[in-house]
Amino acid sequence: MNKGKKPDELIIANKKLLFQYGEKRKRAAELVIANKELIFQNKEKAKRAAELVIANKELIFQNKEKAKRAAELIAANKELIFQNKEKAKRAAELIVANKELIFQNKEKAKRAAELIVANKKLIFQNKEKAKRAAELIVANKELIFQNKEKAKRAVELIVANKKLIFQNEEKAKRAAELTIANKELIFQNKEKAKRAAELTIANKELAFQNTEKGKRAAELIIANKELLFQNREKEKRAVELSIANKELKIAGEKIRESERIYKTIASSIPGSMICLLDRDYRYLLMEGDMLEKLGYSKEIFLGNKAKDVWSPELYIQGLEDFKRVFNGEVFTTEDDLGEHHTITKFVPLKDENDKVYSCMVVVIDVTELKKAERQIAELNIGLEHKIVERTAQLQAVNKELESFSYSVSHDLRAPLRAINGFTQILVEDYQEKLDEEARDVLSVIIDNSKKMGLLIDNLLEFSRIGKQGISVMNVGMKELADSVVAELKQEYPNTEHQVNVKMLENIKGDKNMLKQVLINLISNALKYSGKKKEAMIEIGSYKKDNHYIYYIKDNGVGFDMLYYDKLFGVFQRLHSTDEFEGTGVGLAIVQRIITKHGGKVWAEGKVNEGACFYFSLPIFKSISPQADKNN
């Protein structure tokens, strides 16, 4: 700073300096920033440089690689060049070979030409040879002649030779024989030596064998003892076996015997078949005419197993049955075998231990039976139809009869009542005007109309019992008979009767109906014995074959057994009304009631000696509606 300067200038200079200082500070700050920037840039550059170094290294590596690759390429080029050269060489060689071939071809062509020439030469030479051959044939003939001469000479020489040879041979033979004899002697000596050696060995062998024999003999003695023991055992066993055999024989005979029986049974029952199978389902026996009917022969079966006889399906069916039998079951099956309907019974045959050893199959032809059964069933159906028809008809007839009997009871009685009533009026109101005879006639009219009324009443009673059902209860027969006798005695007050009612069995039945029976029978007894001086009546009962039998016996007029069949008929009488009154319905009613109870009525009689009427009633039989139908 300049000290001479004015203060204003100084101030200005200061201000300038200040300003410059501020600028410098600013600049320094900027520089600092710029430095920092540079440092950052330097760092960046250093980084970049480092990266470049790495990139360089990379490049160098790549260059090296490229150089290597170039070297390899050069080597490859060299190789290629070498190969090219080789190919060029080969091509050159091929050219040479081609030239050679061309040359050879030319040579061959030349040679062919030469051959043609040679051929021509040969043809010429052949011709020459033929000429020569002809000359040779001539020469040969000359030679043959010369040869024949030589042969003759040779034969002579041969004969001479042979003589010499024979002599030589004899000498040689002799020498050979001597040689052989010598050899023989040497051989025999050798043999003797060998034999001596062998004998020595044989001796040793014998000594060894003797020792062995001694040992063997001892063993044999032991073996013999053993055999002896075994033989005894065998004998024992043989005895046992013979016993067993006898038993088997007996058992076999038994089996054969039973087989014979089965066979006899089967062959004697027409339409049947018996077979026996063992536990392997093998047919042991097959017999009976059914076999033929079914189209089999027994040879198919006998000794064969069921499995081999039947088709697999049939065998499986049969197997079920056989198994059941061998389980001890007895059963029966029904089959349709073609036209034959059969019943087959399967029976297990067991031994003493209850083990099934055989299966017996019995087949019986029931075709006819079945046919008959069907016919019966058909007939039954027909019959049932008929029964229904008949029942309907009978029911219709019954209804008709009912309305008929209803009409009878009403319409027949009405006119009778009028006849009786008006006659009675005549008798009552005109008594004075009528004489004795007229009054008699009127009383006859009255009696007859009454009797006809009684007839109608009895007839209706008879038909009513037929229709009536019975109501069963316990009936004390003794009490019932006693009361009936007491009632009836009043109706016959003028006769001296001795009536003996014994103990009577009680029975089950319809009380009212049984009372009617007793009334009818006892009143008959009273009536028909009424003319006897000592009239005796006995009433009793006894048991016979599930029935109680009741009887009413009298010593009255009796009846002739000749007319017995008329006794129980409706309106049938064995006596005239003059002798004994009655309508002829009483016994018919008795028979109807007893039959309804399932019992029977019968009688014994002798003229002038009396009669006995019996009726039986079942003891414990409950009375069913069927008893009704018997009427």
Binding site: Y406, S409, H410, R413, A414, R417, N420, G421, F422, Q424
Partner: protein
């Protein structure tokens, strides 16, 4: 038209039976006021005031009806059923008369409410006895219907 009180109504198609019955009743002085009709249809007309009896005072009821069972057209059982099913007439005593002992008739009559039943016997003496007894019983002994109803 009768005005007197009817004692007996006899319904009977058989004229002989009717005559015999009437005679018997008369003999016993029981037929003073008796009306006889010949069939069931006529009887119903009379009782209920219909047909030829149109306008009859039906409160004038008979003391007893003698009713035959077997008649043409409407039979005795049908007449009985109609009478016993009607409140106005059910108290009238009815005696059924028949020729037979046919059980079905007896059972049916009892079911329908008949008060008595008589089988007409062939013998006139028995017949007149039976009719007289019944007439006497229903007309004299048991003339009061209310008494009957209580019994």
């Amino acid at each position: 038209m009768e005005t007197a009180n009817i004692e007996i109504l006899l319904v009977e198609d058989n004229q002989s039976d009717a005559k015999l019955t009437i005679r018997t009743l008369k003999k016993h002085h029981l037929a003073n006021n008796l009306i006889h009709l010949s069939d069931g249809a006529q009887a119903l007309d009379f009782i209920f005031g219909k047909g030829e009896y149109e306008g009859r005072d039906i409160t004038n009821k008979p003391n007893v009806i003698f009713l035959d069972i077997k008649m043409p057209k409407v039979n005795g059982l049908e007449v009985l059923r109609t009478i016993k099913n009607d409140e106005r007439t059910k108290s009238i005593p009815v005696v059924m008369m028949t020729s037979s002992k046919e059980e079905q008739d007896i059972v049916e009559s009892q079911k329908l409410g008949a008060n008595s039943y008589v089988v007409k016997p062939v013998g006139f003496d028995n017949f007149s006895k039976a009719v007289a007894e019944l007439g006497y019983y229903w007309l004299v002994v048991n003339s009061n219907p209310s008494q009957y109803l209580r019994s």
